[in-house]
């Protein structure tokens, strides 16, 4: 409450006009930023998996290689994140069954919630199919790696079941061209998770969100970076050697983090310069107390993977990865990806908590 009052006071002062009526702006709980974050993480992880498959094909490698391991982890993370996003958003709704029956109930295709539901569900389906093709079949049966743990679970449930699924997957395994098409379509849905940004950006009443370029772009770059980071972190927990593939992904995360940071800075400048009372209220909130600490944590979440990814990536490609750097590089990358995940989620939480709706200004 005290925060609200201080925000209100600051905004009133900024507006230079006390004849305004403020609305509460507390319509969503924390499940929504979790949903908004995990949906794009799912997209980023899917892109990692699909690109790993592509790299494997381009390098003419067999099924048993690091790229396959990355691909499996990527699709696993995509499914887990999409499921988490789905559960988070469902937990917020009043009538869950109507959302589950979305093909019947969600009929307004002008609403980003409807569009987003379709994107997330289709992305999940593509990720499940891709994972099944990577996880089962003759090639997977002869492979090794931590990402094969779902096979162990199925085998534990029933060895016959595992054999049946292996056989089934081998029978339906599509040719390479169809595979490529599958990954391409899936990647489009993965990029489509930018919708999470549009869900906020189209809200005219909240100046903090109402930017149709910066917010969606920032949601995409930060979320995809986090998705790649989560996939790499899981892979690196079991495959510690840093090679050109890891280095390439680390550089990608570094670049996406740098872009996110630039967008964040530009958005911050715009917010600080805005004349809208609600923008002033949001700015006052974000520069006050724990919100300010949180804002710096978000920055740290982008800076750490940007620098660490750049150093390790460039050193690897320049063949200047010293033994010391190689030893600390893995844990450093994993740690920076952890910060990226925390920062990405915190960024969305702050966007929600600092949101203020334009007050109604009573015209004299």
């Amino acid at each position: 409450m005290s925060t609200t009052i201080s925000v209100l006071s600051a905004a009133l002062a900024a507006a230079g006009n006390s004849e305004v009526i403020w609305h509460p702006a507390d319509y969503w709980d924390l499940s929504i930023p979790v949903y908004l974050f995990l949906a794009v993480v799912a997209g980023g992880a899917y892109l990692t998996g699909a690109s790993a498959c592509l790299i494997r094909s381009l390098r003419g490698k067999g099924a048993c290689c690091l790229e396959t391991e990355i691909a499996r982890w990527g699709f696993l993370v995509a499914i887990a994140a999409a499921a988490g996003a789905g559960l988070a958003v469902l937990s917020h709704l009043a009538v869950i069954y109507r959302a589950i029956l979305f093909p019947i109930y969600l009929t307004n295709f002008d609403s980003w919630i409807t569009i987003g539901t379709w994107i997330l569900v289709l992305l999940s389906l593509f990720a499940v199919v891709c994972l099944l093709l990577q996880l089962f079949g003759e090639h997977a049966a002869s492979d090794e790696g931590a990402s094969l743990f779902p096979r162990t679970i199925v085998a534990w449930v029933s060895p016959v079941l595992l054999e049946t699924i292996d056989g089934l997957v081998d029978r339906v395994r599509p040719p390479m061209s169809v595979f490529a098409g599958l990954h391409l379509l899936g990647s489009l849905f993965a990029l489509g998770t930018i919708y999470t940004g549009f869900e906020l950006a189209i809200v005219d009443t909240v100046p903090l969100w109402n930017d149709p370029v910066i917010i969606p772009a920032l949601f995409l770059t930060s979320g995809v970076a986090a998705g790649i980071g989560a996939t790499l972190a899981l892979t690196m927990l079991f495959e510690r050697e840093i090679g050109p593939v890891f280095a390439g992904y680390a550089l990608t995360v570094s670049l996406l983090s740098a872009v996110s940071l630039a967008l964040l800075y530009y958005g911050w400048i715009l917010l600080a310069a805005s004349d809208a009372p609600a923008a002033a209220a949001s700015y006052a909130t974000l520069t006050d107390g724990w919100y300010y600490v949180g804002a710096w944590l978000v920055v740290l979440g982008f800076v750490a993977p940007m620098i660490i990814g750049l150093v390790i990536g460039l050193a690897t490609f320049a063949d200047r990865l010293s033994p010391t750097l190689e030893r600390v590089g893995g844990p450093a990358l994993i740690g920076s990806f952890g910060l990226l995940l925390v920062g990405g989620l915190l960024f969305r939480i702050l966007l929600l908590l600092a949101a203020a709706q334009n007050p109604l200004v009573v015209i004299g």
Partner: protein, 217 residues
């Protein structure tokens, strides 16, 4: 852009509002809503300045049945409908999923959510109770046999009016009409300009408006 001529809209005159909250109470009574339920119609007291130049103005607000209905545009299950026949924005609670997206979209803070988590708001007394307006036939004016909206009916100062735009525009002051046409409040509601105390006193003396007999009634 503003409402079609036959679309209903609200008119509010802050100079006539005495801040008694009769409008919000009568709204609750008409729609049989619990005393502790969120108000479909609210009265805010906004103030400016410091003594001796202090001023407080009561503002009565509800869903304004906006011509562009931002809530309708974002509602994923099409539960919110801007009716073509009379412009009233209704809610089909059998489709609402309770996502609260409409609350963010609304510039007036009109959507409220009950214990079921479903949205309800003013339906211009087209029907009674939450979701009561959905599926009702075209709104009739009191002259045609339709009910006077509760807030309008019980406003002691005659500060709130509601009706088809063409009819409301005939009753408003020239200044209010001009300002509305220029896009004040984005053409979503017609509001009389605030008058200074001296101006108001002159109006009363001249019998132009704010009839004391009306107020006493």
């Amino acid at each position: 852009m503003s409402a079609d001529d036959d679309h209903w809209m609200f008119y509010f005159d802050p100079n006539r509002c005495i801040g008694c909250h009769a409008c919000s109470v009568s709204c609750k009574q008409r729609h049989n809503r619990d005393a502790d339920a969120d108000d479909w119609r609210t009265v805010s007291h906004v103030s400016s300045g410091e003594y001796p130049d202090f001023r407080e103005v009561p503002i009565s607000m509800s869903c304004m049945h906006c011509h562009d209905a931002p809530c309708e545009q974002v509602c994923p299950p099409d539960a919110i409908i801007k009716r073509e026949e009379d412009g009233i924005v209704t809610v089909d609670r059998d489709r609402c999923i309770g996502c609260h997206y409409c609350a963010w979209a609304c510039p007036f803070g009109a959507p409220t959510y009950d214990e079921e988590g479903l949205m309800s708001k003013c339906n211009l007394c087209l029907g009674e109770g939450p979701g009561g307006g959905h599926g009702q036939p075209e709104r009739q004016t009191p002259e045609e046999g339709g009910a006077v909206p509760a807030c309008v009916d019980d406003c002691v100062g005659g500060a709130i009016k509601a009706g088809p735009k063409s009819e409301i525009m005939q009753e408003v002051s020239e200044e209010a009409a001009e300002r509305f046409e220029q896009g004040a409040y984005e053409g979503r509601v017609i509001v009389e300009p605030l008058k200074e105390d001296g101006e108001m006193a002159d109006s009363i003396r001249n019998g132009d408006e704010l009839n004391i007999v009306d107020m006493a009634r």
